[in-house]
């Protein structure tokens, strides 16, 4: 039972953390046009934990980039916290990201010439947090992710999984109201995946909204809702933990869990 766009455009999207209408993004390369995101409508409520799944090349990363203002849609609208943001200039987007969006990229996440500690503290300092507080918060986050001994390492000296966890810590240091994470558990073993999920669920409990791209059904199962993206379109949007099963019956299960 796939759900269409949640509400007509006229509805005031107040309580929604994120609302997207008719979002389109195409890439033109070598004359051919590839539609990475086509006509996506989406509504994410405050405090929701949404997992996005889909095959490789489905447009998951592209969608996340658009939602974070890192890339511009060809058409469509985005509301963030009730505010229309798709037409904001880049500098306003930057301030928005600094304050209320945490972003974890799929690949290469860290500023290469800064230590892990500096990478994590950077957004906090940018947002005006006093250095001491930033440091405490960073220590806390890195410890939680089992990286306290890697604080002084440079990204080049970190493994892929360590880099991903540092990136997550960096995304969370300002306690953003929205976390956009592109496969944060992509290169992690099960123990580290558990650490990451524990951290994410704590964020969830605190009321932060989370959009998480993942290929891992187990990770997706911790979400409130799973969106399946296929060829740039939302193929399925349901409150189920295992999209492979499909169907609407599992929604009740999740509701029970919630």
């Amino acid at each position: 039972m796939s759900r269409p766009g949640p509400s007509p455009a006229s509805t005031a999207p107040e309580q929604a953390m994120l609302q997207v209408k008719d979002l389109v993004k195409a890439y033109r390369a070598d004359g051919a046009t590839s539609w990475a995101v086509r006509h996506v409508d989406l509504r994410v409520d405050r405090g929701e934990f949404v997992a996005i799944m889909g095959p490789s090349g489905a447009g998951k990363s592209t969608l996340l980039h658009l939602l974070g203002g890192l890339d511009r849609p060809d058409s469509g609208q985005i509301w963030l916290d009730g505010r229309r943001v798709d037409d904001l200039p880049e500098s306003r987007w930057a301030v928005l990201r600094r304050r209320s969006i945490g972003f974890v990229f799929q690949f290469s996440n860290l500023v290469s010439n800064m230590t892990a500690a500096d990478n994590v503290e950077l957004p906090a300092l940018l947002a005006g947090t006093p250095p001491r507080q930033a440091r405490e918060r960073r220590e806390e986050l890195l410890t939680e992710l089992g990286l306290e001994h890697k604080a002084r390492s440079t990204p080049a000296a970190l493994s892929g999984g360590e880099q991903q966890r540092v990136a997550l810590a960096r995304a969370l240091i300002n306690e953003p109201s929205l976390l956009l994470a592109d496969e944060p558990t992509g290169s992690l073993d099960s123990r580290n995946t558990r650490d990451v999920l524990r951290l994410l669920s704590r964020c969830h409990e605190r009321g932060q909204t989370i959009l998480l791209v993942t290929h891992d059904a187990r990770v997706a199962s911790t979400a409130d809702r799973v969106i399946s993206l296929f060829d740039g379109e939302i193929a399925d949007d349901s409150a189920v933990s295992l999209p492979a099963n499909g169907g609407g019956t599992v929604a009740d299960v999740v509701q029970l869990k919630g």
């Binding site: 390369a29 070598d30 980039h65 974070g68 203002g69 890192l70 890339d71 880049e90 500098s91 930057a94 301030v95 928005l96 990201r97 600094r98 304050r99 972003f103 990229f105 690949f107 290469s108 996440n109 860290l110 500023v111 290469s112 010439n113 800064m114 230590t115 500096d118 503290e121 950077l122 957004p123 300092l125 940018l126 947002a127 250095p131 080049a156 960096r170």
Partner: protein
């Protein structure tokens, strides 16, 4: 802005090498600019050198005789006093001419302040009671050298034969004839004999000041202290300096162009370095944007960082130049020492520094702006479609060259846009070096082939006291004189023009003077004329047109058949054959003869012969060659070439670095494929050398064209006329190009070897 600082420090720490290179390049450019400036000041400003060496006085007062000048020494700001010296006016009698000469009574010991600098001969000596030391510009103008005798007439009309003991430079007064009277030093007793009446003498006092800026104020105080009616004349160092400095439009233009060229090249180098750093950090910049840096913040970050590096470099460079500069070997060290002694040198230093910082900030602006425009999505570089192998690579393959060469050739032009940019950046310093060499060759042309720039006659002889017939007889008999062309100069009115123009009759229609013709042909008829560029501009005419001029009340209509190169009088010279100036009383009497010498004849020998044969009734003068004045440019050209070479080197280092970063991954793949480290190094060296070769060829070709245009443009603007530009000798160009390519190959070996040492896995995981 803690976050910004945190990033800046991390970035600088991570790119220590690049930052150090940037600082070094800026420092070297600063040092070069300062040294060039000093050289230029020193060469273009003879006053400064003389003033420094002679421990000169800033302020000179001519005071009535008998006035007590002691209060001057007690004035505020006066460091030392020269004199008072007794002076007497006199005239130096030379054939028919009388030239004003001021004699100054100085003791047999050289004064400490404002000490005359002996150029030749020796200082005054009590044993030679009729000895005189002449100021050098005056001596040159009078053709007087140490050992000569000169006739000096006092106010009372008595003549005295005096021995020139020596010739000396001084900064007490300007160069003769800009500054009259001329200056001669004599012993007090000699002065007493030439001017026995003390009331006809005066006193001269020089004041050396602690702070040259207070000159005007001290002058007022001095006049007040002595009484304004007691002071007959005041002269300041500024007046002396401006009268001594070269007044040459050509020189000014050349120097201005050179200065701008050097700064432009420096800006390009910095922009290139900054640009390649931005390129190297695209992914980090994307990351910074993702965590919330605004584009404006990023632009500022880059601007600040590079400006800060520039400031460090400039401060270091300035310190190095100021500290080590004076210790350098002769021309440089000397120039620095004197420049530093110059009163306004700190201002010039500051201006150089501020100018350089601004230029660098400006040059960084574009790369910084690009940093702001980097997309926020980190692009994992998509593998670009494999291009067809470049022509060069295929050729190399065809010739069965080693694989490293083939790969290097392919590598060089793999990214055509990047290769084009690198070539352009390397070509620009080469272009400028070619222009500099062209200026040098032009100067050589002035010196070696004066006849090609309108200076066929080496000497001019003016009859004074003998008639034209005997003068020309004397000249025709003199060995070494190939031809003597009679000349006469008249002022002519051009109808419709407010100014007059000089019409010169030189040579005859039958035996025309060898004008250096840049356009048209020579004079073949009595109504034909050739004109300098200045004259053409003044009359608004072109070669081939007819002009009407009025000379001595006679209207003449002249056909301008050619344009001659005229290095003198701003080219405002209309030349005709003597017959064209025939008036009601026949041909005009020649005012002078232009003497073309036989090859190898010594001008001074011919001159001496003529003086002797005519019993000094021929006044023989050497024609001034602008190349002698432009000699100052040579130092600047050398300095400029050095600066440009350094800039080129910096560009080369940047280009190699960024090229390497571009395909460090490809290199890792190559090594993974089984190329030996030496082969990998060869690939890089080949690639760099190829790019440099193309750049050298392009830069030289364009440089030759530009240099020709630029010099002729300067020639045109100065009235001399286009047609003076010379191409740099092929050998020099070849040498410069070869050096550039060899240096490029050497420079690329170091980073290539480093890249080769890098672990394959590290290189691969970087992307």
């Amino acid at each position: 802005m803690r976050a910004v600082l945190r990033w800046e420090f991390a970035d600088l720490r991570a790119h220590r090498g690049q930052a150090a290179l940037m600082v070094l390049v800026t420092a070297v450019i600063t040092v070069s600019l300062i040294l060039a400036n000093a050289l230029l000041q020193n060469a273009g400003n003879p006053w400064q050198r003389t003033f420094g060496q002679s421990n000169g006085a800033h302020l000179w007062l001519h005071v009535r005789p008998g006035v007590d000048t002691a209060p001057l020494a007690r004035l505020d700001g006066v460091a030392a006093v020269a004199g008072p010296y007794r002076t007497a006016p006199s005239t130096l009698v030379r054939s028919a001419e009388k030239v004003p000469l001021e004699l100054r009574a100085v003791g047999p010991a050289l004064p400490k302040v404002s000490r005359p600098l002996m150029r030749s001969g020796r200082w005054l000596d009590p044993s030679v009671s009729n000895g005189v030391v002449l100021e050098s510009s005056f001596a040159r103008s009078m053709w007087a050298a140490a050992g000569d005798s000169v006739t000096v007439r006092g106010l009372d009309g008595a003549t005295h034969t005096m021995r020139v003991l020596g010739v000396a430079d001084t900064a007490d007064q300007g160069a003769y004839p800009n500054w009259t009277p001329g200056l001669g030093w004599v012993l007090p007793s000699t002065l007493g004999r030439i001017e026995p009446d003390p009331s006809h003498t005066a006193q001269t006092v020089g004041l050396r000041l602690r702070d040259p800026a207070t000159t005007d104020f001290t002058a007022q105080q001095a006049v007040t202290a002595l009484g304004s009616d007691q002071v007959t004349m005041v002269s300041t160092w500024q007046q002396v300096r401006s009268s001594m400095n070269l007044d040459n439009r050509l020189l000014g233009l050349l120097l201005a162009v050179f200065g701008l060229v050097a700064l432009l090249a420096a800006a390009l180098a910095v922009a290139g370095a900054a640009g390649s750093r931005v390129l190297a950090q695209v992914r980090d910049i994307a990351m910074l944007k993702a965590v919330g840096f605004t584009p404006a913040q990023l632009v500022r970050m880059f601007l600040y960082e590079h400006s800060a590096l520039a400031v460090v470099g400039i401060v270091l460079g300035t310190a190095a130049a100021s500290g080590i500069g004076p210790l350098l070997p002769s021309p440089l060290g000397e120039a620095m020492t004197f420049w530093q002694a110059q009163p306004d040198h700190l201002g010039a230093l500051l201006a150089t520094g501020v100018g350089a910082v601004l230029t660098i900030a400006l040059a960084t602006a574009l790369p910084a702006w690009r940093a702001g425009r980097v997309p926020a999505v980190p692009t994992v570089r998509a593998d670009r479609p494999v291009r067809r192998m470049s022509l060069l690579a295929r050729l190399a393959l065809l010739l069965r060259l080693p694989p490293a060469l083939v790969l290097g050739a392919r590598d060089a032009f793999y990214r055509p846009l990047r290769a084009g940019l690198t070539i352009a950046r390397l070509a620009i310093p080469m272009l400028m070096i070619t222009v500099a060499l062209g200026s040098w060759a032009t100067l050589d042309g002035f010196r070696d082939h004066p006849e090609r720039v309108g200076l066929a006659a080496t000497l001019t002889a003016k009859p004074s006291g003998i008639d034209a017939a005997s003068a020309s007889r004397l000249l025709s008999r003199q060995a070494g004189v190939a031809a003597a062309y009679p000349g006469v100069e008249l002022q002519a009115l051009v109808p419709g023009q407010t100014t007059t123009i000089t019409v010169r009759g030189l040579g005859t229609v039958a035996r025309p003077y060898p004008f250096a013709l840049a356009e048209g042909r020579g004079i073949q008829d009595t109504d034909e004329a050739v004109a300098g560029q200045g004259a053409l501009d003044q009359m608004h005419v072109k070669v081939g047109q007819w002009v009407r001029v009025m000379t001595g009340g006679t209207p003449r209509i002249l056909h301008i058949v050619g344009r001659s190169i005229e290095p003198d009088h701003n080219g405002e010279m209309l030349s005709v054959g003597m017959e064209a100036l025939e008036g009601p009383v026949g041909l005009p009497q020649p005012q002078y003869y232009a003497l073309v010498l036989r090859p190898g004849a010594s001008p001074s020998g011919v001159r001496a012969g003529l003086l002797a044969a005519s019993h000094n009734q021929l006044d023989v003068q050497l024609t001034t060659n602008p190349a002698d004045q432009l000699g100052a440019v040579r130092g600047v050209v050398i300095g400029l070439v050095v600066v440009l070479a350094l800039i080129g080197l910096a560009e080369l280092v940047t280009a190699t670095g960024s090229g390497l970063r571009d395909h460090i991954r490809d290199l890792a793949v190559l090594r993974a494929m089984g190329l030996t480290p030496r082969q990998v190094t060869a690939v890089i060296v080949t690639s760099t050398s190829l790019l440099t070769t193309v750049a050298v060829l392009a830069g030289t070709a364009v440089g030759v064209l530009v240099s020709d245009r630029l010099i002729n443009l300067q020639g045109h603007a100065s009235g001399v006329g286009a047609g003076i530009a010379q191409m740099p000798p092929l050998g020099t160009l070849l040498l410069a190009g070869t050096i550039a390519v060899v240096v490029a190959a050497c420079v690329s070996v170091v980073p290539a070897a480093r890249a080769t040492r890098a672990r394959v896995t590290t290189a691969l995981s970087q992307f």
